[in-house]
């Protein structure tokens, strides 16, 4: 078996806060094969963005640090790489797209300047060649009259255009992995559709792998090959997109799927909900982190934390009492 492109094993991330050390990500393991898309889904504070920052080694300093585990990428452990070496990988072999394009772009530099920056840093291209490549890339991500846009500033572009520029920046060095953290959350649905299609098309063409982080299960279903469901810093369930949507086993995954309003459901009916709230990272329960909201909890759930176990080829669940059948509410098809 060939080694996956990215293999995260037992990753832990800690933040040193005024109130004490917070473990934002705990015992997280997953792999991404070349060319495939992994969707990481979860609610605010579940650690999905922190995971992305840990892989990129961009955790806020000095509070955040990787506390255990490994991040193997193309034969190297990113968790232990010296900063100088990491800078050669970041932007060149791993690209990243953030949620809010306006904060990802430098407002006082032209689009062109920002685009050629990483080319000049990571490749041997001359300035003129870099400019040509940047114009090609802008054209590629669907920006009309790219040569004119090169000289413009981010504020002169619309939200959708800015996100296209950010994608062009992330892909200009042809990375083998793209990490997209809520790339479409700030955009309108019609623009979101454009951007997701663009990422998909570029992925196929360039053969890169994508980690797509989002809270939107609809986006996950339409884009991902494999899905990881995170809850309060841990992996609740992972598997192929069909495992997760057709046959969810973790009570949290089931609850999440059942609580989405769907267009083909009757109006003005009560939604199935998950009662209660996510526990705070400062006082996490000793046992399973979902225990206080879980409809299938047992006595041991309060005292012991379940370990993630494989139940089918790729399907893994971290639960003492996983559901055996998909619930009716989560039944798929229209």
């Amino acid at each position: 078996m060939t080694e996956p492109l990215l293999s995260v094993q037992h990753l832990g991330v800690e933040f040193d806060t005024d109130e004490g050390v917070v473990r934002a990500v705990d015992e997280l393991s997953f792999t991404v094969a070349a060319g495939e898309t992994l969707g990481i889904v979860g609610e605010s504070g579940c650690g999905k963005s922190v995971t992305a920052l840990a892989i990129m080694r961009l955790l806020p300093q000095p509070m955040g640090s990787i506390a255990g585990g490994s991040i193997r990428f193309q034969g190297e452990d990113l968790a232990k790489l010296p900063v100088a070496r990491m800078e050669k990988i970041r932007g060149a072999r791993i690209g990243m797209v953030f949620q809010e394009p306006m904060t990802a772009l430098n407002p006082v530099k032209t689009v062109g300047k920002q685009l050629i920056e990483s080319l000049l840093l990571h490749t041997d291209l001359k300035v003129e060649q870099a400019i040509r490549r940047a114009i090609e890339m802008l054209d590629h991500v669907g920006i009309p009259s790219p040569d004119i846009r090169m000289g413009e500033y981010p504020h002169q572009l619309s939200g959708g255009m800015r996100q296209r520029v950010v994608i062009a920046m992330a892909l200009i060095c042809r990375p083998s992995l793209l990490i997209a953290d809520e790339p479409t959350t700030a955009l309108d649905v019609t623009i979101q559709a454009q951007i997701l299609e663009l990422i998909k098309a570029l992925q196929q063409e360039m053969g890169m792998a994508v980690i797509l982080i989002t809270h939107d299960l609809g986006v996950i279903a339409e884009t991902s090959d494999n899905v990881a469901v995170m809850y309060a810093g841990r992996m609740a369930e992972s598997g192929t997109v069909y495992d997760i949507f057709d046959d969810p086993r973790h009570p949290y995954t089931q609850g999440l799927l059942a609580s989405i309003p769907r267009l083909d459901h009757a109006s003005k009916t009560r939604l199935t909900t998950i009662e209660g709230m996510v526990p705070g990272l400062l006082d996490l329960p000793k046992g399973c982190r979902f225990e206080n909201r879980c409809s299938r909890r047992q006595a041991r759930c309060a005292t012991h934390a379940p370990v993630i176990e494989t139940i089918a080829e790729k399907h893994k669940v971290s639960c003492f009492n996983p559901a055996t059948q998909p619930p009716h509410d989560a039944a798929i098809n229209t």
Partner: protein, 329 residues
């Protein structure tokens, strides 16, 4: 729209809200941002009207006109048959009590220096309702209705999670027993599992308190879930309005169609034909001539560029759309 005005709780007649865009050294209003440009619609007692559109389509401005945060440039707002858009601050008071609002970000709409008790009591004080003891009792009652513990009274907004803060916002909105609540992206900032809790609360409250909602949101699936009827807005105008189920299964306007097709479906097998719209929404300062949707419309013909369509009804009289063509999708 000549029917009896008492039947509808709220009626908007050709409502316009144009904001001056000041330019030059003299700051003369050379142009106008036509945020709302001729909207006519109505809400019946106990009904939820959903209002959907993309950023900048004017949906929030419309909501703000109804609660009198903006004075409309033209047109009328009738509440229970009374025109309310040109009343003085004093005259508007009794209507304010009946029309309340819930905002998107409860952190920004709740005063962070007030306790939850003070926040909920304030509307009662302003409208001179009850004595101190009765008000305290009402605050406890409100907390109970929205599912917050009684001890919340002495807490501050920052001590609550996003979902709980939205419950506080809802408690404040229902404090005066209003008839109509404008929900402006009331659940957009919440996580899915919390969003469903708040949607359920809104549905329950509507039944218990006989409320009407104008539910403004960009997420058509959420709006469809809570609404009886849905209005689709584009560049300051309503392009289609129909019963919720008709919007989903029987929509006629190309914009509604593409909006529907753009929504990602939480079903990996549900791959469908997507009508991807090209380009962005044009600026409401210089909206396109003719049909304002025509530059992005896949079905446009020459007359669309010059001749603006108006709303017309199809089949059942409650379904209206504004397109020159009746496209069979």
């Amino acid at each position: 729209m000549t029917g009896s005005r008492t039947e509808n709780l709220l009626e908007l007649h050709d409502l316009k809200m144009h904001f001056p865009v000041k330019e030059g050294i003299l700051l003369r209003a050379a142009k106008y941002n036509k945020a709302v440009d001729g909207v006519t619609l109505s809400i019946k007692p106990g009904e939820t009207l959903g209002l959907v559109g993309e950023s900048g389509c004017g949906k929030s401005t419309l909501g703000r006109c109804i609660v009198n945060l903006y004075r409309p440039t033209a047109g009328d707002i009738y509440f229970e048959g009374h025109e309310i858009s040109r009343l003085s601050n004093r005259e508007i008071m009794p209507y304010r009590q009946n029309i309340q609002m819930i905002f998107q970000d409860p952190m920004e709409s709740l005063n962070s220096r007030q306790t939850v008790g003070d926040i909920l009591e304030e509307p009662l004080i302003i409208h001179k309702i009850g004595d101190a003891a009765a008000r305290k009792q009402r605050v406890r009652e409100l907390l109970n209705i929205v599912g917050l513990p009684a001890r919340s009274v002495t807490r501050f907004p920052f001590e609550f999670s996003g979902g709980q803060r939205q419950r506080i916002g809802i408690a404040r909105a229902i404090a005066l027993n209003p008839k109509l609540i404008i929900c402006d992206e009331a659940v957009s900032a919440l996580d899915v599992s919390i969003q469903s809790q708040i949607l359920n609360l809104l549905i329950d409250l509507q039944k218990e308190l006989d409320l009407s909602y104008l539910f403004i949101a960009h997420d058509l699936a959420v709006v469809k879930h809570i609404s009886d009827r849905i209005a689709i807005m584009y560049l300051g105008r309503i392009v289609e309005i129909a019963d919720s189920d008709d919007v989903h299964s029987n929509s006629r306007h190309p914009y509604t169609r593409s909006l529907l097709s753009a929504i990602p479906v939480p079903d990996p097998r549900g791959k469908k034909q997507r009508i991807t719209l090209e380009g962005d929404v044009p600026s409401p300062i210089d909206p396109p001539e003719g049909c304002s949707f025509h530059p992005r419309c896949a079905y446009r013909q020459s007359r669309c560029a010059s001749d603006p369509p108006s709303l017309r009804s199809v089949g059942s009289s409650t379904h209206e759309f504004s397109c020159h063509f009746d496209l069979k999708f």
